[in-house]
Structures are given as structure tokens and as C-alpha cells.
Amino acid sequence: MCRMTKEPTAAGDQRRSQLLRGVLDLCLLSLIADRPRYGYEFVEALDAGGLELVSEGSIYPLLARMERAGLVESYRAPSSAGGAPRKYYRLTGGGRAELAHGRAVWGDFTAQVGRVLSPQEKTGEPDDDRRPHNDHDDHDDR
């Protein structure tokens, strides 16, 4: 009984993790578009949005790649929480364009996946108007 309830959850977590990995760069860009942030603030914001990272530190290689690609830039500034200065990331013009493009792609993609995944009434037969017609088919139907 326990197995039956645990396995789908684990599989679900794994799928969520994989899906998040695919769009984590866009999530980070979107969070910086809101305001400049430092590393831990990304994790907090993702957590607050219900997106929990398996390994929090995985944002750093991603941020480094985005910085090298010129999508974000960094600067050091005192943290609002106090303590040592933090490395903040902010969006560049290129990052803003990438975010806009990524949002459009994500919107289209989720709509398409949603259409495919949404439960539909299955009759067992394809719709008549979508079904390819030919003489052979007609003959068989008779």
C-alpha cells in the first residue's frame, strides 16, 4: 500500500525536476527581470513559487553560463540582509530579448503540450472529417 502511494510521488518529483531543469534558465532570467538578485535569493524565490531545486547550487553553473553568454551581468553590493557584500545579477539587453523569446516559446510549447495531454473523449475511431478518405477505405466501410 505504502509502495503504491510512494512510487507515483517519486516519479512525479523526478518529472518536475526534469521539467524545471529545462526551463531553469528562463526562471532565473525572469526573476532577475523583476529585480537584481544574488544566489540565495533565487532559491528563495523559486521555493516561494513552489519550485524546489534538488540541488540549490545548480543555479551557479547556469548563472555563470548566462554571464558568459552576455545575458546577465554581475556586481557586488551589500546585502539587504546584512553581512558580507553579495554578488548580484542583473539582466542585460541581450538577456531581456532572450527572456521575451523564451517566454513566447514556453507559452506556445505549454499550449501545445496542454492540447495533447488534455483528457479527450475517445470514441475509438478518428473523426470523420480528419480521417483520410480514399476509395479503398470507402469500400472497406461498406
Binding site: 544574488y38 544566489g39 540565495y40 532559491v43 534538488v54 540541488s55 540549490e56 547550487g57 545548480s58 551557479y60 553553473p61 547556469l62 555563470a64 553560463r65 558568459r68 554581475s74 556586481y75 557586488r76 546585502s79 540582509a81 553581512g83 558580507a84 553579495r86 554578488k87
Partner: protein
């Protein structure tokens, strides 16, 4: 049971240990000094914040600290740049060891034996392997590695290949080996001073 295991791993992998392993991995992967310090500061701050929120280092870097460090290093600097730095630093380390031998034997033409080469190779291999797993050994442990691993290997190599010199290494070659690494060290020191004066290093 699972909780016990989690507690054990969390307590054995401290923030300091994670930082030490990352530092060693980044340095051995050819990341420059200023960038290593910047990455360490960023990671240290994150570990501290995560700790304050009740999350351990494993939740930050995952189960494999080395893989995490390697992934960040690859993302941070291109291989070409890291390889160029390593190409300067590795000969410099060999050169420094040779310079030490020049001074010890008070000669400008150091006889290089199979044992001497085996000594350097053995110490380097063990040191790098251990430091990549556990962080910096420190001077005392490095000497211990030299005595426990290097000397026996050198003796065996001398016994097998003979203790006759393979070639004589002139002092100028030794200095030439050190030069590129010394240039890197000077650049690192200048960058460090600039950073300490508050200039942002990117």
C-alpha cells in the same frame, strides 16, 4: 533509519569541507585566483544562508561535491583559458621543486635521475588525488606525502633504472620553467590587491 543516515552525512560534510574541496577542484582546473575567491565567497554566503534556513551543505551542492565544482568551473571559464593557466602553472611547480634541488645540492647543472622524476610524479599524483577529494593538505601533510609515498617510489625507481643521471638540468632551464607560473602569480597578486582595495573584479 533514513533520518539517521541523513543526519550523519550532514554532520560529516561541513561547509568548510565543501569549500575546501571546491577550492582545490577549481584551482586544479585552472581557474584563476581572483575568480576562485569570488566563487568561494558566493558559495560561502549561500551555504551560510542555507544553514540559517536549516538546510545542510548537501542540499546546496548535492551528493557529489566534486561534480558540482567541476560543473561550475566548466561553466565559469572556457577550457582554453583554464588549460593555458595550467600549462603555465604545472611546469612552474616542477621548476620550483628543481630549484629547491639546485639550492640543496648547490649546483647549476642538476643531475636528473629516474628516482628524482619518479619522486615528483608520485608526490604530484597522490597530492592532486587527495586534494581533489578532501581539499588542501597543507605543508605538513604534503611533506608527509613526500616521505611516505615519494621516497619509496624514488628508491624503487633508482633501484630499477639505476641512479645514474638521465640528463643534467641547467639552472636557466629551471628558471625558464618557473617564469610563466611566476607571471601568473604576479597577475594574481595584483588582482588580489585591486580586489582588496574594493575594485570589482569580473
Amino acid at each position: 533509519m533514513t533520518d539517521d543516515r541523513t543526519t550523519t552525512t550532514t554532520t560529516t560534510t561541513t561547509d568548510e569541507r565543501v569549500l575546501a574541496i571546491c577550492r582545490a577542484n577549481w584551482e586544479y582546473r585552472g581557474i584563476d585566483d581572483a575568480t576562485v575567491r569570488e566563487m568561494l565567497a558566493e558559495l560561502a554566503a549561500h551555504l551560510e544562508d542555507a544553514g540559517a534556513a536549516g538546510r545542510g551543505p548537501r542540499e546546496v551542492v548535492g551528493d557529489d561535491v566534486k561534480a558540482f565544482a567541476a560543473s561550475w568551473a566548466r561553466a565559469r571559464q572556457p577550457l582554453r583559458r583554464r588549460a593555458a593557466r595550467l600549462a603555465a602553472l604545472v611546469p612552474a611547480m616542477v621548476g620550483l621543486l628543481m630549484l629547491f634541488s639546485h639550492l640543496l645540492w648547490r649546483t647549476t647543472a642538476l643531475p636528473v635521475t629516474a628516482g628524482r622524476l619518479a619522486l615528483i610524479a608520485a608526490i604530484a599524483a597522490v597530492t592532486v588525488t587527495v586534494e581533489l577529494r578532501s581539499g588542501r593538505l597543507g605543508l605538513r601533510k604534503n611533506w608527509l606525502v613526500g616521505a611516505v609515498v615519494g621516497l619509496p617510489v624514488a628508491l624503487v625507481a633508482d633501484r630499477l633504472a639505476g641512479d645514474g643521471p638521465l640528463f643534467a638540468l641547467p639552472l636557466w632551464v629551471t628558471l625558464l620553467l618557473i617564469a610563466p607560473g611566476a607571471a601568473c602569480a604576479v597577475v594574481d597578486a595584483r588582482t588580489r590587491r585591486r580586489a582588496e582595495r574594493g575594485v570589482t573584479v569580473r
